[in-house]
Symmetry: C3
Subunit: 206 residues, 3 copies
């Protein structure tokens, strides 16, 4: 089950990279690289910051092959990914992936004995920074910094729930599940209700 969500999340994260890269008119090298960074960038940055090795994609080369296969197969159909139903499926899977990645990142931070705020930040970095690096490579301001529909904030809240339950000494499966459900649930609520936050401060855009 977890592996299934993990694979689905990697696919969705990679496809988010494919879409941006295709829009920029990149060749196959660019499309693969941006997809790779979108899928594995957050976890890689977390592992570098925590000094953990081997990196996720080094240990699981099958996932890199998967991203290569996606790079070959998906782009010709990229236009269909704009359809309403495809977008819904992708956003839902992405919300699941965000929850899974963020809380598992926080769990690794906790295992490395960090204090609480850095633990939460490691979680958010894991869930969000793949998208940030994707946008930097595509020469865009990261969407997550100005999308105005909370994304990183959902991961932030979910990781605090996870960390809070952990300090209460609850069982791992319960804390992981609740943290992930909080993140994913919040994100789905944001999408369903089209919740928005303004720029900060509200009247700042020039």
């Amino acid at each position: 089950m977890l592996t299934f969500i993990e694979i689905s999340a990697i696919i969705v994260f990679a496809v988010s990279g494919l879409i941006v890269a295709v829009r920029k008119g990149m060749d196959i090298v660019g499309v693969f690289t941006v997809a790779f960074v979108a899928a594995f960038g957050g976890g890689t940055l977390r592992d570098v910051l925590l000094d953990r090795r081997p990196l996720f994609w080094v240990e699981h080369q099958e996932y890199v092959w998967l991203v290569m296969a996606l790079t070959l197969v998906v782009p010709p159909f990229a236009k269909f990914l704009g359809h309403r139903w495809a977008e819904r499926v992708m956003q839902t899977t992405d919300a699941l992936g965000l929850g899974l990645f963020a809380v598992s990142g926080a769990a690794l931070g906790l295992a490395a004995d960090l204090s609480l705020l850095p633990v939460v930040l490691m979680g958010v970095i894991t869930g969000v920074c793949g998208g940030v690096l994707r946008d930097v490579l595509c020469n865009e301001i990261p969407v997550v910094f100005q999308d105005h529909r909370p994304y990183a904030l959902c991961a932030f809240a979910g990781c605090w729930v996870f960390v809070g339950l952990e300090t209460l000494g609850l069982a791992s499966w319960l804390t992981l599940l609740t943290g992930t459900a909080t993140t994913t649930g919040l994100r789905l609520l944001v999408l369903a209700g089209d919740w928005r936050i303004p720029p900060w401060p509200p009247a700042s855009r020039q």
Copy 2:
């Protein structure tokens, strides 16, 4: 005293990030992230390059809370930061922070037994790369690459003074103080005299 300068420098570096992010119309996630990267990016990059852990902000989570508080409090007043006196205070504190960060970065390089030029580069990276990463995240060419009022060069000179005095075997407090004073003093002279360097080569801008 050192802690006081350190906190002031982190505040000023973070505020420099807040200002750029607010100007770009980012939401609170973007504003915090850019401020965080501006404050801690240089030291984090140095620690990754030197393979030092724990990272500064992992060990001192109170400073991350500080940047969060600044993110909540400062942006509504961002327009006042353009005032002449606010700019003066910020530039002076920034010059102090540049000196402190650069020379302490060089000291860590020296402690890691690097040869002299890499030691100096570690110092410059510590002082300057927070701003570089801030600008990359905001999709701008880093100011420090084309500001034309020497900034990195002041850190470069100050770190050489520090390294030179260290090789002469002087006491740490003296080498650290002189290196920091050189960096900060040069930067204040640059600001006071509005010293400028041309593009390189002088007639290159297209």
Copy 3:
């Protein structure tokens, strides 16, 4: 001989950075930094991902001095580097450097006991990511993602040849030489024949 190719490659990679930075009207700090990142960025990223220390440029500070000297001497003559013959010399040396850097990066991945695809990726990262970081710092979409004349693909192919011959148990000098020759030869063929690949998918540019 190897050292000679290495130095030539570092010079050419650094000069590629100088040219882009000069075009952007940067000052001497920006020109040096971009040249430095273009020359050493790929190897540094690989070493951080593999957790190897000391970094190449930390161990060989003479190469950093070399890039500093180039920063002082080359920019006034940058316009001559657009000449047909200068471009030919640079492209040929760059192809040699790509082969040498990529295959030596793959060899380090192999020595770190990675599985085959990550080994090949480490090679490509070493050869290509200096240019990627150079372009990100200059606020451009990396050329290698949309140049449409295969570059990273040559390194990819050459690293597979190297890895394939290694798994057959051939002597190191033979596998290194064949891998490098494949990469460099393919790149020279691409340049000689002006081979191009379309965007992916072919009709994607908006």
